[in-house]
């Protein structure tokens, strides 16, 4: 079984400072991991994904995440926050044993607030 825990429900940063959104996962198989972003009244957009290649994954809008198997973590970072980064962020795990289908399990979400 797979599960995802986002350690902070809310994160507040000042514009121009670094962003860290924390995510821990549990999986019985070698998982794929994703970060999605949801802006207010908008659908979900894929930020980045890890699928057993490079452990440091670069995504859109300057975000990146590092897969650490020993820590079962996949934290999302950005060196410098922008006001437009204010949104809800979801860490997502997918198991696909035997190519049986790509079931996604979502974390509880982290609301990122960016102060001017």
């Amino acid at each position: 079984a797979q599960s995802v825990t986002q350690l902070d429900s809310h994160v507040s940063v000042s514009e121009g400072t670094p962003v860290l959104l924390r995510c821990n996962y549990s999986s019985s198989y070698s998982p794929s991991l994703f970060w999605y972003v949801q802006h207010p009244n908008k659908g979900l957009q894929l930020l980045l994904k890890y699928t057993s290649a490079a452990t440091l994954v670069k995504g859109i809008n300057g975000f990146e995440a590092e897969f650490k198997k020993s820590e079962t973590s996949f934290h999302l970072t950005k060196p410098s926050a922008h006001m437009s980064d204010a949104a809800e962020y979801f860490c997502v795990v997918s198991e696909n044993p035997n190519n049986a289908g790509n079931m996604l399990t979502f974390g509880g979400g982290t609301r990122l607030m960016v102060k001017p």
């Binding site: 908008k42 894929l46 699928t51």
Partner: protein, 114 residues
């Protein structure tokens, strides 16, 4: 990626009625899914929409309440039946392509039940 659209984008309905939500993808996809996002909550998978056969429902969701159709590789519908205020949520469809396990999401349908 592809363009995924949903209709309606939002609706306000009376309790006891039903609403059908449509999801259209602009290219053929392998898999389509329906999710519910209750107010202030994360996403929960309702079911996998299978082309040409009955949908596969997750625990806590049943076909009588959430009938799903998928007549072809680009289109699916979700019906929320006999609605109550507890059904007020955002309903999202998603799609994925064979060999890739990320999903791409539609914009969602915001449902309010009075």
């Amino acid at each position: 990626s592809a363009v995924i659209s949903q209709k309606p984008s939002r609706d306000i309905c009376q309790r006891g009625t039903s609403l059908t939500i449509q999801c259209q993808v602009d290219s053929q996809v392998t898999m389509m899914f329906w999710y519910r996002q209750q107010p202030g909550q994360s996403l929960t998978l309702i079911a996998t929409a299978n082309q040409g056969s009955e949908a596969t429902y997750e625990s806590g969701f049943v076909i009588d309440k959430f009938p799903i159709s998928r007549p072809n590789l680009t289109f699916s519908t979700l019906t929320v039946s006999n609605m109550s205020p507890e059904d007020s949520s955002i309903y999202l469809c998603s799609a994925s392509w064979g060999g890739y396990n990320e999903q791409f999401f539609g914009p969602g349908t915001r449902l309010t039940v009075l």
